[in-house]
Structures are given as structure tokens and as C-alpha cells.
């Protein structure tokens, strides 16, 4: 057991180390402006860490992310419950959802700028949009798949609407919704960078665009890697929450 963990940890370090080595080797064939190597990127990192700009961009990005995520939750959860519960409403709106869903949030760029101008609002709009559909769809199917037995038990004991909602429907649907939350986290984080390229003056997306304008490729890669590492952290956070929920609900790990 312990050995297996040690092996996995070792391999988990070895893989990235090999890639960094390869990156370093390849980067030496180009100029640092064309293809910055790991050393230049680390230097760039230390630079924005030292002047405090990374902290500012990080804070702004995370704030936008959580604001947008909460907005998506607030919109998608109630709507998902309603559509999942009233079958006819789903028949009515499902075609619309299915048409809107495959449109990349990036395609909304022109309209987002037209409607919301530049700055926080269009970025938050794009991120919200990207988190909205995974949460909506997982909620709809979670509600529809609640075992009839639970509903019958609730009806048998004469549970009122409010008790039915918070004591049966919400907890019964929750484990399936959490899966959608994890997908939404990934989608929202991916679109954060895109959203922040819409004339925002701060954030990790802005950092990347701004660095391009100054041809600071080392900063571009530092920004990209920051996005990747934070994305991994967020995913692990939600995965941890998902495990906790599944454990508390008595579902398989």
C-alpha cells in the first residue's frame, strides 16, 4: 500500500520533470522571445511575484470566477429543478437549451461587449455562461432520476412542498448535481482567460494579452502555467467536496 503510493508519487513527479527537461532542451534551439525555456519563465514568475502584479491579477481572476460561478448556480439550480420536476416545461424548453448549449461562450464575445461594455461585466458574463449549462443539465437529469420510492415515501407521510424540496429532492439530487458542478468548474476556469481578454484591465487573461502586446513570451507562459496550476487546484477542491458528499450519502467512493 505504502509502496504503491510512493510509486505513484514518484511517477507523478518524474513525468512533469521529463517534460520540463524536454522543454528546456527544445527551447535552447530558439531565442528566448520565440520560445522561452523553463528558466526564463521562472524568472518572469519571480518578477511579477516581486512587483505584486501577479497577486493583483490572481485576486481579480478568482473574484470574477467565484462571482460568475455563484451567478451560474443561482440561475441554473432553480431552473434545473423546475425543468426536471415539471416534465412539460422540459418538453417546452429542451429544444431551446439544446440549440444554445453547443454555441461556444466565445461566440458571445461581440454581443457581450455590445451589451456590457468592457471590464468586469463581459468577462463574468462569459464565465457564467460556460458554467451555466453543465449545472443546468446535470440538475435536470438529477431531479428526473430521483427514485420514485423516495417521492412515494414523502407523499405517504404527507410531506408538504417545502419539506419535500429541502428534505427529499435536494439531498436526493445532490450527488448527481455535484458531478455537474465539477464539469462547470473546469469549463468556467477555461473560459476565464477568454473572458478576460475582452478589454479587461486586470486578471490572468489580461496578463497574457498584455504580455503579448509587449512581446514578453516568458510572461505569457508564466500566465498560462498559473492558470493551469490554479485550475488543477480548483478541480481537486471540487473533487474533494464530491468525495465528501458521496461518502455522506453512502455511495461508492
Amino acid at each position: 500500500m505504502k509502496r504503491a503510493i510512493a510509486w505513484r508519487l514518484g511517477l507523478g513527479i518524474l513525468g512533469p520533470a521529463l517534460i520540463v527537461l524536454l522543454w528546456w532542451r527544445v527551447s535552447r534551439r530558439y531565442t528566448a522571445d520565440q520560445f522561452p525555456g523553463p528558466l526564463e519563465v521562472v524568472a518572469a514568475w519571480r518578477e511579477i511575484l516581486a512587483d505584486g502584479s501577479l497577486a493583483v491579477h490572481l485576486k481579480v481572476s478568482l473574484l470574477r470566477f467565484f462571482a460568475a460561478y455563484l451567478l451560474a448556480l443561482a440561475a441554473a439550480l432553480p431552473l434545473g429543478f423546475a425543468l426536471g420536476w415539471w416534465t412539460r416545461s422540459l418538453a417546452l424548453f429542451d429544444p431551446v437549451i439544446q440549440i444554445l448549449r453547443p454555441i461556444s461562450p466565445i461566440a458571445w464575445f461581440p454581443l457581450a461587449v455590445l451589451w456590457f461594455g468592457v471590464g468586469n461585466a463581459p468577462a463574468i458574463f462569459i464565465i457564467t455562461l460556460s458554467a451555466f449549462f453543465p449545472i443546468l443539465l446535470s440538475t435536470v437529469s438529477a431531479v428526473r432520476e430521483i427514485p420514485v420510492a423516495y417521492l412515494r415515501v414523502a407523499a405517504n407521510f404527507g410531506a408538504k412542498r417545502l419539506q419535500l424540496l429541502h428534505s427529499v429532492l435536494l439531498p436526493a439530487a445532490f450527488p448527481a448535481i455535484v458531478i455537474g458542478l465539477r464539469i462547470a468548474t473546469g469549463a468556467a476556469w477555461i473560459h476565464l482567460v477568454a473572458g478576460e481578454m475582452l478589454g479587461a484591465q486586470s486578471g490572468l487573461g489580461f496578463l497574457i494579452v498584455d504580455s503579448r502586446n509587449f512581446l514578453r513570451t516568458d510572461l505569457i507562459v508564466a500566465g498560462m502555467l498559473t492558470v493551469g496550476i490554479l485550475g488543477l487546484g480548483l478541480d481537486r477542491l471540487v473533487a474533494w467536496a464530491e468525495r465528501r458528499v458521496r461518502l455522506a450519502w453512502g455511495l461508492a467512493r
Binding site: 423516495y150 412515494r152 415515501v153 405517504n156 407521510f157 404527507g158 455522506a248 450519502w249 453512502g250
Partner: protein, 257 residues
Amino acid sequence: MSIELRNVNKRFRDGRRGENVVLEDVNLVLAKQSFTCLLGPSGCGKTTLMNLVAGFEKPSSGTVHVDGAAVRGPHPSRSVIFQDYGLFPWRSALGNVLFALEAKGERGKDARTTAMRYLDLVGLGQAAHQHPQQLSGGMRQRVALARALAVQPDMLLMDEPFAALDTFTRFRLQDELLRLWAERRPTVVFVTHDIDEAVYLAERVLVMAPNPGRITHDITIDLPRPCDRTHPLFLDARGRIFQALSLAQGDMAEYAI
């Protein structure tokens, strides 16, 4: 609570083939405080019959009355016990019993005391804080029983409640059910496909047959309780039911073999 079914038919739409008659012309009166088993092979409509009394389903034609009033939907006075227990996995044993009390508007300390009393009644006081997935099948069904009894129902509707349990657990729960019934005397409708179980528990066994679902025999079991599973009278009653079942399924070759 007494039950009266008159000319009850239940049909389901069955895709292209038209209609599937689940129950045909069922007429039935069950006395207050009686213990009745619905016995038959799968597809004979015994669960549907129970669901009609519970109020989960409505008859296609005919009437279902409980204590003289037409059944309009489920009601806490008619508590249902499901084969798969119907427990909420996200709540502890205590939480599951509390759910029934919360639905009645009972909360706080009094509700907890009541819930604990019913868990003690089924011998699960120690396991109050365990979640269903930590309990054995027999213990889960006890929790379901405690939850059903906590609202002091006049009627218990049980849908093959012990079918998934091993023989010894089943025997123990059968005895416990009889004890609770003797103590509180709810009207019990017990669905089963186990002849021994029907004879052991019920005062009256209604034998059902499929295609279309109907009641073919109405057999009174007049045995001293608790009865001895090896007593000649027990075996005699068992024989009568077995005969009724084979008569009912005379056209089903697999049963004759």
C-alpha cells in the same frame, strides 16, 4: 381501518399491443384490524392492488374505499413498507424516523424522544446514528418499520418487505411483526410470494393469479398464534394454499413442473 374495493379494474397502456389488464374485477372487503396476505406469482397484480389501497395509483374503473371514504391519494394513516426499504441514505436511522414526524409537524426534543422510542421498539436504539448503508438488510427494514409505526398508522401496507432477507432474519422479523400487530392492531395488508410466510402471518390469504390479475381464492387461516411451522395444521393450511395456487396456475406449465 376497513377496506372495500368494488369492481376494481386496473389497466396500463402497453405500447403497441394495446392494454395490459393488471387487475380485473376485484371485489374485496377487509375488516378493521385484520391481517391479510396477498399471495401470488409475479405479474398477478398484488403490488398494484396494494398501491391502489395506498393511494399511489388510481383504479381505471371501480372504487376503493377506506373506512367508507374514497381513497384520493396517499395518507399517513396508511403507512407503506417497501421491499427496498425506501430509506433516505443521507439520513441516519434516527433521521429517517424523524422525517415521518417532521411531515406531521413534530419537531425538536419531543420528536426525537418519540423517534427513539420507536427505534427501541424495533430493537435498534443502539444504531440510531448509523446510516442505512451501515446497516444490514434486516436492520434497514426495522428502521422502515419504526418510521412507519412512528406516525401511529391505522393501517400497514407491506410490499414483500422481507423478500430480500435471509431465512433467519426473515423468521425473526415475521415474529416481531406479529408481536407489533398483536400490540397495536393496525389493519395489515401484506404482499408476498412466499406460501409459508403467508400461512405464518395472516388470518386470511387471498390467492391471486396473473393474465389478467385477479383474486382466485380466499382462504381463512385459523391457527393458534404464534404458530408452529412444523405443526400438522400449519402443513394442512400450506397444502390448501399450494393447491389453490396450482389450480390458479393450471395453465402455467412451468408451475406444474
